[in-house]
Each structure stands twice: as structure tokens, then as C-alpha cells.
């Protein structure tokens, strides 16, 4: 790293700030509101910039940033009385939506009737243990190994939470689509 501070900032902007959308998305899913999410992202970026010399160029910058964001959230934003960290098994997870719709809408085209706001609300309503792996995988496109590293969990746990989260979300969106008459 040069002595001039300009190049460091330029490099940081080029390597790290391209992930701002990802950081905001994860922050929003953790905090549940835009104002806290923005503060969390700001704090994460500041911390990452100060620690930029410790980041190894060429390694996974996005995973590095999301790890800082998550740790900051755990240390500062999570209220002591939040939900327990383990989630009870829900019978909903045993129900495959496909079995219900295969004769009426096997392609699942009813999903596309659902407005984005409702999809985001349904994701937000998932327990945090399911929500974050799902967002990192299905919205941000991270691999199981990346998610496991970021969340400090075994890969098997990531898979289990991700798959259960998907089942719950699918069931919830299916119920919503039924209520709205998108599927009969």
C-alpha cells in the first residue's frame, strides 16, 4: 500500500464498494428496517476501510465484508431479547407445494403474479436462522461454502437451514397466491 491515501481509497472503492448492494440487502434482512440497515452498512464500510491493509487482495472480498457486517450486527444491533438461535421444526417444511399445484400450475407461474413487496415481506418473516442463508444463496448467489464461512457454520447446517427456509417461504407464497386468487 502506498503512502498516499488516495490510491487506498480508490482501490477500496473498486474492490469493496461494488458489493454495496449485497451489504445493504443483508443488512436490511438482518435489521428489518432501512434506517438501521443504512447505519449498519455505513459502520461496516468504515471498519472495512480502516482494516483494508489486512484484507488479502484476490481473496473473497464480498465474503470478507459480509462477515464484518454480520459480526457488527451481532455485537451492536441485536437486542438481548431477540429470538432464540435454534428454530423448531415446522410441519410446513414437510409439505411440498408442488404436490398441491402439479395438476393446476406445474410451472409455478402463479409465483410471478406476486408483487415484489410481498416476496420481500415473506422473506423478512422467516426466522433469522433461515432468512440469512436464503438471502445469501438465492438472492446474492453465494455458494454453500461461502455462506458457511460468513456465518461460521458447518456446510451441513447451512444446507439444512437453506432448504428448510426455502420450503417455508414457498409454502407462505403459495398460501398468499391462493388468498389473492392467483391460483385456484
Amino acid at each position: 500500500m502506498g503512502q498516499d491515501k488516495g490510491p487506498k481509497r480508490e482501490e477500496f472503492e473498486r474492490e469493496a464498494l461494488v458489493h454495496l448492494d449485497t451489504l445493504y440487502n443483508v443488512a436490511l434482512r438482518l435489521c428489518g428496517n432501512a434506517s438501521d440497515a443504512e447505519d449498519l452498512v455505513q459502520e461496516t464500510v468504515t471498519k472495512a476501510f480502516r482494516a483494508w491493509d489486512k484484507y488479502e487482495t484476490g481473496t473473497n472480498c464480498r465474503a470478507w465484508l459480509v462477515t464484518i457486517l454480520r459480526n457488527t450486527f451481532i455485537n451492536q444491533y441485536r437486542r438481548a431479547s431477540r429470538q432464540p438461535s435454534s428454530v423448531q421444526f415446522d410441519t410446513v417444511e414437510n409439505i411440498a407445494v408442488f404436490d398441491d399445484v402439479k395438476d393446476r400450475d406445474p410451472e409455478g407461474s402463479f409465483f410471478h403474479e406476486i408483487v415484489d413487496e410481498e416476496v420481500k415481506r415473506a422473506i423478512q418473516d422467516l426466522p433469522e436462522d433461515f432468512r440469512i442463508p436464503l438471502v445469501l444463496s438465492d438472492v446474492e448467489g453465494m455458494s454453500y461454502a461461502e455462506i458457511a464461512a460468513v456465518l461460521d457454520l458447518p456446510v451441513g447446517t447451512v444446507k439444512s437451514r437453506l432448504f428448510r427456509g426455502r420450503r417455508r417461504l414457498q409454502q407462505r407464497l403459495y398460501e398468499y397466491a391462493m388468498e389473492m386468487g392467483y391460483i385456484r
Binding site: G6, E38, Q42, T46, A96, F98, E107, F111, K159, R166
Partner: protein
């Protein structure tokens, strides 16, 4: 037959055994997420190509995950972007 199996066969291997509907269903998400090794992927693909029970199910789950990726995307608000850039400028002048 794909190049992968041609190569294996030339080494004396047999074509893949059918994983069966149960095997496909147990690994369906991992298959869609491209998290399986090449040999397992080939077995599942071979099964899906000929199974009228599994293929529609795969198609449905795949469509659902594609839908999620497209409709749950979030962009950082422009004010946050400005705020972050301004703070970096300040930080690097300290």
C-alpha cells in the same frame, strides 16, 4: 452421451447407475445450486431426462428459485451510496 461419460467409458467404466427418484429428490436443491460433483450431476441429469415424475418437480423448484433471485433483489439507496462515499473521503483525509 456426454464427453464426461465417453471419457470414463474409454477408461473401462460403465454408464451411470440410475440414482432413482429418491436419490434425485434428496439432492434436488444441491443439483440446482450446482453444488454436486460431476459424476453425481451426470447421474441426476440422466435420470431427469427420462423420468416423467421427477422432471416436472425439478422444473418447478428451479423456476421458484429463479423467481426468488429475480424478485427479491435489493439496491442500496442513492443517499446511502453518497453517505458512504463522503465518509470514505473524510476518513482518508484524517
Amino acid at each position: 452421451m456426454t464427453a464426461f461419460w465417453k471419457k470414463l467409458r474409454s477408461q473401462g467404466s460403465q454408464p451411470p447407475e440410475d440414482v432413482g427418484c429418491g436419490g434425485v429428490m434428496a439432492q434436488l436443491f444441491e443439483y440446482i445450486d450446482a453444488e454436486l460433483d460431476e459424476e453425481t450431476v451426470e447421474k441426476i441429469r440422466a435420470h431427469l431426462e427420462k423420468c416423467s415424475r421427477c422432471y416436472p418437480r425439478y422444473n418447478f423448484e428451479h423456476a421458484f428459485l429463479r423467481f426468488l433471485g429475480e424478485h427479491a433483489h435489493v439496491e442500496a439507496p442513492p443517499e446511502l451510496r453518497k453517505r458512504v462515499f463522503a465518509s470514505l473521503l473524510e476518513e482518508s483525509q484524517d
